[in-house]
Amino acid sequence: MSTAVTTGRRLAPQAGEVIDRRAPLSFRWDGKTYTGFVGDTIVSALVASGVDVFSRSFKYKRPRGVLSATFHDPGCTVQVGDEPNVRAAHRRLAAGMEVSPENVWPSLKFDVGAANQLLGRFLSSGFYYKTFIKPQRLWPAYQQILGRFAAGGVTAADAEHGYFDKRYIHVDVCVAGGGPAGMAAAVAAAESGASVLLVDEEYELGGHLRYGGDADLAALAELRAEVAVHESIEVMTNAAVTGRYDMNWIAVVQRQPGISVQGHAIHERLCKVRAGSLVVAAGLIERPYVFAGNDLPGVMLSTAVRRLVNLHAVRPGDNAVVFTANADGDACAQDLRRIGVGVTVVDARTDANIRRAEGGKRVKTVELADGRRVDCDLLVTAVGWTAATPLLNMAGDRPQYDATAARFFPTDRLAANVVVAGALAGDGSTSELVAHGAAAGATAAARAGHGSEVPAPALARVPHPELYRSTTHGIVDFSEDVSSKDMFSAKKEGYDSIELVKRYTTVTMGPSQGKLESANAVAIMAEAHGVSDFNEIGTTVWRPPYVPITLGALGGRGFENTRFSPMQPWHEQHNAKPLVAGDWIRPEHYGDPAAEVANVRRSVGIIDVTPLGKLDLRGPDVPKLLNLLYVNKWSRLPIGAVRYGVMCAEDGVVMDDGVTGRLGENHYIMTTTSSGAATVWEWTENWLQTEHPDWQIHVTPVTTGYASMNVAGPKSRELLGRVVSGVDLANDAFPYMHVRTATVADIAGCFMWRIGFTGELSYEIHVPAAYGLHVWEALFDAGFDLGVVPFGVEAQRIMRLEKGHFIVAQDTDGLTLGFGADLGWCIKLDKDDFAGKPELVWQSRRDDYQRLVGMQPVDPTIVPAEASQIVEGTKKIVGRVTSSRMSPTLGRSICLGFVEPRLATPGTIVTCQLPDRRRVPLKVIEGLAHFDPDGARMRI
């Protein structure tokens, strides 16, 4: 590599740099305009422009600069436009980016919060648990103030949602980590014939090779070429495996994948991967060193310096102290010398050490263990590594500490479909790591059914000094501002397990989730406990996601099923007010529900009841099934007849109701409530498949095979007479509670039954769905002169309430047994068996349950809100109103509700408390029906 001439902080062109100097970009930071190049991260561009401080720390508001120059860099979280908490040391620069600092109220430079530094000694961890206790009434005020210190960026209520996306991926092998081992694993797996997904967090494959020397760059070029030739390898960069879940269900987040959908750039995409095997080649994360002043701007990890210098051609300082314990630190010193930075090496391997760093907005002086003081503007530490084991952890492993190599290693507790590759397993040269990766890749492929396993060549565990904390106290968790001193005192207070100290001090709980600090946290705890073996301390459990993922990506495109009837276009043209009823959109009314009621009572109206559940039942054993499902009897239902039935669950609680009609010898149609359609079908299948597989019955749901419409009102027969052929509609020929198949408006294959939910003469017509709109329109054309108008769900609710017909789950609840819903008339306890029979038998012998009754407010103008309570004395609840409406037909308010048995006698006056706390009298009526109790109108 040629010696570079530096211009300001931007170095001259050099091999391996990822910036494109022909493509300058201008952006704004903290209100000022800066420029950088394509390929720069926000931070590298700012460092090149002389910016040192990117944020203030969470608690003490200390200035923070570059530490790791990676996604996890705790001091480099910024606001970009309406996007909070952007990782500025990772996010690549884009033209016109509006970047602003976070946590710096009122400004990055002047910061009142910095006063906290003086208070620091009082703001020890958990201080808030120990104060603001009294007086209690002031706590909300204290809480307001604490809230101001909340970290992070800002959101806006009206922020643009952005385009997010998801996709499913099925591969034989998923490789997490695109360093040398990961790339080799992918290639080997592909050569075994496996399909491969290769995922890396950075923008290019290569891992640490990217910012290495000439040899590294050469090796990298080779590996990249090998990956490229294999079409069976899908490469995802700037992406991360965020979680490994049961059975290798793997979450991968793709950030700004550079895909545009109809002009919207995809912000993030969640890939849900089902992989035969997972290769974890996540590598090592360089560890910060704990000492006084270790969070000063200008104190950086060796890998941070090498990234800035070699990838982004940025000069991070002029005078450096390099505290190194390994080859990477040495290489960093080399790089610094190459670009002309003055370097003082402090070599840990010769027992030299640093004690503390001093400075204000940037490090000025380093005090060494031997007392020497060295002035510098850059302090580099290379004290060792944290193994990136979260994915292994999620796969059941609990990595063990090895004091010789001074880091954690995987154990054999790993799930068989997860394989470790590369530096996680040990140390080695590039070629050794590649060999290890290749073996891991082949083994992973074999476990996914391709080729055969290859034993991995053992990687050495190179001895490394155990360097965690100097003789001074410093920051352990940079994003939470937790110091080693905090952890010592927490332990002394009895928060002595790693989980307790984590919760008490919040160490490892911040945005970097322990990536940088977990090893140090364990080491500090071991020191506090005076134990040498870290394994006695254990580690906190890493939880998904490995890196934070946007809610947008997790939510995806939000496909929510919505169901419509064939008549929906007509409803929209006629200004129906949409009612969301589960998945269905239904007309609540067409403007005036009361008028719709009046019209039905006076002449004729039509309602769209397509959502009614319909099951086609065929076979000789159908009566057995009906007898089992319903509380009433079905053995002798004649062909052409329909019957109302109620279903109870095994606990006797009312579950569903509807009518079932017999169309032929072995052919029945069952209707259910619209919300109960799916439940009743599954319930039916359950009985047939698990209790009575010997019964000859075929069940077919035909709910939306038919468009269903109820033609109701005294003139409904006359209207139907104009469009129905093949059926004699005369009262005696087609009586109440019967069914006929017919041709309606030239559409054959319709069936219609005569029932009366509204209490009027009415026919429910079921039409082959594709002709639903045709028949619907034909009915309105034909009935124009009869004054036919549509009516909606609300009008139907009013009319059924006038008739005292209850609605399951409104006039009953999760504990209403059959007799409580006034169903004694249809519950046939003399049947051998039916669902819920035992509970109903026992209930029939009791008298202690609330009864469903019809009620009318004594003041007919008062309509109690539904769920108003029936009370006695100051607060005793003795019932409630379940349904309540103003009846246009009766010109008075009417109710259904529950009352204690002793109050159920007709004529009883009960007290109802309205939401506004007024108390009004209601009179219990005879039966449930307020209108036409003996049902004469339905039988005309």
Partner: protein, 427 residues
């Protein structure tokens, strides 16, 4: 009965206060242990299994209200390491049944005085609690709860979209959404506490009064003679005792099995998650039953999410991706503006669900074996009152009126509690 009569008279080795903070800051003196370690004794008057909020509170009230201090609290893990440290720490009393309302209201009252009682700031923020209704039937249930709440003197009312928008400006209250917001049950006293603080405060309070907390002490079996408890065998040795209180939530069935009892309990994981912090924008607890989500924002700025329990029973606490997907999708239905916020961490706890969404508290067919289980997804908010009531039962042998309807016998006798209507997600 005073909940802190004896408590006031007990001296903490170091009382927590602003003054003591400054003193310790200046002198750099160490704080004493919040609770101590002990050798396991060969016998205790009462053995409480589970050092979560229910077990610790039971011990605390045994000591403060009844002077019973020869008590061991055993936990196979660490203090508050189970559901008590994994829940979303929502406190409210706007339940459906009068007995439920009265019970949880007592808990809210205890929480309001708890920081002073325990000399430990539990950070009870009563920012208000909103349960959204997206269809007329849930709106009816909200009205039902509101009316029962009012009769019990609880501040609770149904409000409309405009008022909701005022309380939560980020909420999309427009009509043309897939899940339009028709209204909400608004409960001003509802809010959140710092769950760890509650656990630790009770632990410290129980410890200073002589109760012994034994962490890393797993119960392996329970000895009975003629259906009467005589001893508990633990990983650290045998304890003779005549009274065992099962406060182990998701693991309750396993402890019950040690005395041969089966109950209507099914253990389901309940997952939760937090986002990265952003500046405060949400000043209420928001719950949507239909969308299976609840959310609040901590003082640290994180959004804390919860949802309904996992769809099948399990003792696994590994968490699932599907949970975070549904959660995010539904939260964005409510607050589309926060799509670019990032989920930071997810975790799971174990819930022992009952058929009627009410706990099982009190005596069992095995004499001396008491249960405080079946806490499902609503156990934390009931911690203080459960501890108070269980302590009274242990001390007096008489089941307190406020837990009488939560007895185990209600199942064979068909007297289920009617919280079903309000349950689903409601937390």
């Amino acid at each position: 009965m005073s909940t802190n009569g004896l408590g006031r008279r007990t001296k903490y080795p170091a009382k927590y206060s602003a003054f003591s903070l400054i003193k310790h800051g200046l002198t750099k003196a160490d704080w004493p242990q919040a609770w101590r370690k002990h050798e396991l004794k060969s016998s205790y008057d009462v053995v409480i299994v589970g050092a979560g909020v229910h077990g610790l509170a039971t011990a605390y009230y045994l000591a403060t209200n009844h002077g019973i201090t020869n008590v061991a609290i055993l936990d196979k893990g660490y203090v508050g390491g189970g559901g008590s440290g994994r829940n979303t720490a929502i406190v409210r009393s706007n339940y459906l049944t009068p007995e439920g309302v009265r019970f949880y209201d007592r808990s809210v009252k205890l929480y309001e005085g708890l920081a002073a009682d325990l000399n430990f700031n539990i950070m009870f923020g009563q920012m208000g609690h909103l349960t959204l209704a997206h269809n007329d039937s849930s709106l009816r249930t909200m009205r039902w709860r509101a009316e029962v709440n009012k009769l019990e003197g609880i501040d609770s009312e149904v409000i409309g979209p405009d008022d909701i928008k005022k309380l939560v400006p980020y909420m999309d209250t427009s009509e043309n959404t897939r899940y339009p917001i028709l209204g909400a049950l608004y409960h001003p006293p509802g809010g959140t506490v710092r769950h760890d603080a509650v656990n630790w405060g009770y632990a410290r309070g129980a410890d200073v009064r002589g109760c012994e907390i034994h962490q890393q002490t797993e119960v392996q079996s329970i000895e009975t003679v003629d259906d009467r408890v005589v001893a508990v065998d633990t990983s650290r040795g045998r304890i003779a005792t005549s009274t065992v209180v099962n406060c182990t939530a998701g693991w309750a069935s396993l402890i019950n099995a040690m005395v041969g009892l089966k109950m209507p309990l099914v253990t389901h994981p309940l997952q939760a998650a937090v986002t990265e912090p952003v500046k405060k924008f949400l000043n209420a607890v928001v719950v949507s039953g239909s969308l299976h989500v609840y959310v609040s924002q901590t003082d640290r700025g994180e959004l804390v999410f919860g949802a309904s329990t996992d769809p099948y029973p399990s003792y696994s606490m590994r968490g699932s991706l599907a949970f975070t997907e549904e959660l995010a999708g539904h939260v964005l239905e409510l607050m589309p503006g926060i799509a670019k916020m990032r989920l930071l961490r997810q975790w799971a706890g174990l819930c022992d669900m009952t058929p009627d969404f009410s706990p099982i508290m009190g005596i069992t067919p095995v004499k001396g074996f008491l249960v405080d289980v079946g806490w499902g997804t609503y156990g934390f908010k009931a911690g203080p009152v459960s501890g108070e009531s269980m302590a009274q039962l242990v001390a007096t042998g008489i089941t307190p009126e406020n837990i009488a309807s939560f007895d185990l016998a209600r199942f064979p006798e068909g007297r289920l509690v009617g919280e079903k209507g309000a349950a689903a997600v409601g937390h």
